[in-house]
Symmetry: C2
Subunit: 495 residues, 2 copies
């Protein structure tokens, strides 16, 4: 088959627009065809909307972007493209007619694929010329961000077509899943449709609202499904005996009315297939190892969601706000702030902070120092409420020295020592220690500037907060000056 | 109801252990009961295993940890706990008997909740004393990391019991979902079970393996389900007309054999309920706004998964490796390395890097500088293959100056200038610019040390790589020395 330089698209709706954005981003030219000329503006808008997310997803260098052209002529796509993806409405007769016509104009070594959600490839290729170059390639919305594409051969599809399509989709950053037997809905939509129909029953029967049903997924199983499917998750739930134990324990529930879908008979042959399948998926990893992996990604996913205050991330954010408030109240009561002991902040090197060598990556030291500084600021009244008045401290200069490596999982603490405070500036020195033996692993020296967002310039800090900072500074002045402060960076040859 | 200081647990399997770890972490004492004394060691091990993940999930200050005690006496739990959670095997008669006995010993203001996956609360509370303090509280594995808990009242449950239980579960970091009508399997397990039974059919019919079926979720819909349920996702897929358009478009598919589960009749009343439910979920946000939110979290989740090389994160990692190799090959061919132009690296400020003020957080500057340095290192041969030989460069000292704010989404580029290279050290100066107008937004000065992992000390760099670095250094020597290099941090008063 040909090297794909130009992708042809038939139909320019949400799916067609997603294909265009993805292909262009990876340097593939696109000819998009729609019978409605007004769709040219639409698809250009869709590509533009997708661009920021795609640019953030991939940080590696990309080839120059592809060029997008638009036509209302089927023939122009058929003759100008190296690979054609069909995304017209989900009607078998319409697709059959368009695919047949397309196949009369496109050279026989041009692969033609259909984005159909569930129609069968054997039926779609029925009236085509050179039907061996046809397959289903079913993507998921948003096509430019989700890697899955299901590839399904029809009765007359050549194996080489599936191989070449898999190579092309891999090239544009996707994960091709070869569906080995054609069934209505392929694989993914059968599973999605089972959930969807159960949802419709529950709403229809007045048991729950759409919002409650969505919540029943996003705060629980949905987090797991971000990286492990139902089979692997149930393998883990079975403890050391894995899937076999799980089937023994929950097998009887298959007879209970837990969904309107009736289960197949749980025969010995079916049990063996389920057990053997998950054994292969585990790939020699123990349940313990897989549990650690699951826990690691569940932590990282919830923290990623926290940035957007959505789902489990919103739960986590609200929880931490409450804990910070409680701790601030406790510290005030106990009168520990402003004492002679340096403010102390505890943290742990997270698994997702690891570098190639399972040590904490350089820039994460900056994150821990920043978190420690945030915690200190809260104790003197520089908190969310203060920031909502449009004023805040910004880091204008930082100097970090890395003195020892930190392993993933190690407990750390950071002390914060004020070196100078004036109306607009705060000069601070922080030390990061390993909790197990107290070893100093890094120091950080920072200059912060107090700014007003609207004025976009440095302004004086609130007098009450300045008074609290001065009190802390006086207490810290009694301590020895930090040895690492005020250093420059340089090799010996530069003095 | 009582303030919960001590949680009682009946049954100490995977679920009981998860409850213990979560409660202890939030400062609640736990009395765990099991008829098998050997389970004491098991539950202590389970709590210990959960601890690292919990510690990483929550960075806010927590109250002192609770204490765990173990007993084989039902009565001891009944008399010593303020809230009792039952997690014994999923058999109705067994649960009924144990709950009845428990209720004779526990004061009537002690809430008793069952972790049952799908049994009905009205049946479970049948023989209890003070049945009004009973409810179902169904959690999800791992209980210490997933926030979802389904609360279901039975026919004799008091509304105050559900309210008090929701408060307690909120206190230990969970998201209580009130299931308003009891049905077998509650809500979540009905949806999970629908997928599960469809999976069993597909494996039974020889259509796909467990691994293929898991892949059909984790590379596609599973990523979306991490923060939006099927209803909200379908609302977005419907374009500007949302759920109503979606039902018009895919309604006919409900009659197709896309799953073995038959759908209900898509009546006008059902359509109205689905549309009204998703309208409420959208909460006034446009489809465009929701799409941006979806795209933001899909990017962040895939990047979180990348750290663990799992699912879509593995796809992304392999893709970036390929792109870096291609770019390195291209640069070599074009002979641009070692020229007089500074190596240039392009990036974009990601949405998940925002601070309170929608600007790029301080420590992320360090990340971008580090990524630029990584890209530079690859061009001289310090890549994954080199690191696999156990040698690598480490950042030992860094000095970052923040000169201007960077807004989320802004395109950036970083230039890298070598200042000095010797056998073991590399002194480098980087400048970060806003791409739109070239404005310098930050500078970074770094000292890197070449180390061997096994020796855990500085060692000489590979001679071939050093030669390449020297060539770059010679080319850079012709450029003006950076103005910001060699500075110290200090306020005026310190000179």
């Amino acid at each position: 088959m040909r090297t794909v330089r130009t992708l042809g698209l038939l139909g320019t709706g949400v799916i067609g627009g997603g294909w265009a954005a993805r292909a262009l981003h990876f340097g593939i030219d696109v000819i998009a065809m729609d019978t409605d000329p007004a769709m040219e503006a639409w698809i250009r808008g869709a590509v533009e909307n997708a661009e920021p997310a795609l640019a953030r997803l991939i940080s590696a260098p990309l080839p120059p972007k592809g060029r997008l052209s638009f036509t209302t002529s089927l023939r122009e796509v058929a003759e100008g493209a190296d690979f054609i993806q069909e995304n017209i409405p989900e009607r078998l007769d319409l697709k059959q007619r368009v695919l047949a016509e397309l196949s009369r104009h496109a050279a026989p070594d041009v692969i033609v694929a259909s984005s159909t959600s569930g129609l069968m490839p054997t039926e779609l290729q029925r009236d085509m010329q050179a039907p061996e170059r046809f397959c289903v390639a079913h993507p998921f919305n948003p096509v430019y961000l989700l890697p899955l594409v299901e590839l399904v051969a029809g009765g007359r599809t050549a194996p080489a077509t599936i191989e070449a399509a898999a190579r092309f989709f891999g090239h544009i950053g996707m994960h091709p899943l070869h569906v080995r037997r054609e069934v209505p809905g392929h694989l993914t939509d059968r599973l999605q449709e089972a959930i969807w129909r159960e949802i419709l029953h529950l709403v229809n029967d007045g048991v729950a609202t759409t919002g409650e049903l969505d919540d029943s997924i996003v705060y629980g199983p949905g987090l797991r499904w971000a990286a492990m499917g139902t089979n692997m998750i149930y393998h883990l739930a079975g403890g050391e005996a894995g899937m076999r134990h799980m089937l023994a324990q929950f097998g009887p529930a298959l007879k209970w009315p837990w969904t309107k879908l009736e289960a197949p008979e749980l025969s010995e042959a079916l049990i063996d297939r389920m057990v053997e399948g998950t054994r292969q998926q585990a790939g020699g990893r123990s349940i313990r190892e897989l549990e650690r992996l699951r826990d690691d990604y569940l932590v990282a996913v919830q923290q990623a969601l926290r940035q957007f205050n959505i789902g489990a991330g919103a739960t986590l954010g609200a929880l931490e706000e409450r804990l910070y408030r409680a701790a601030a109240g406790g510290a005030e009561q106990a009168g520990t702030q402003g004492g002679s002991v340096l403010p102390r902040y505890e943290a742990r090197a997270r698994a997702e902070w690891a570098d190639y060598n399972h040590h904490m990556t350089d820039f994460r030291y900056g994150q821990v120092f920043g978190d420690a500084m945030d915690a200190f600021y809260r104790t003197v009244g520089v908190d969310d409420a203060y920031r909502r008045t449009g004023r805040m401290y910004y880091d204008v200069e930082s100097h970090v020295r890395h003195l020892a490596e930190v392993k993933v999982g190690e407990a750390l603490y950071v002390t914060t020592q004020l070196l100078a405070v004036d109306d607009k500036r705060l000069h601070v020195f922080q030390r990061m220690h390993r909790a197990s033996d107290g070893k100093e692993v890094a120091t950080g020296e920072f200059m912060h500037l107090h700014v007003a967002r609207d004025a976009a310039k440095a302004v004086s800090v609130d007098p009450q907060i300045r008074a609290r900072l001065e009190a802390v500074l006086r207490a810290h002045a009694a301590l020895p000056a930090p040895a690492g402060a005020g250093r420059r960076i340089g090799t010996r040859s530069q003095g």
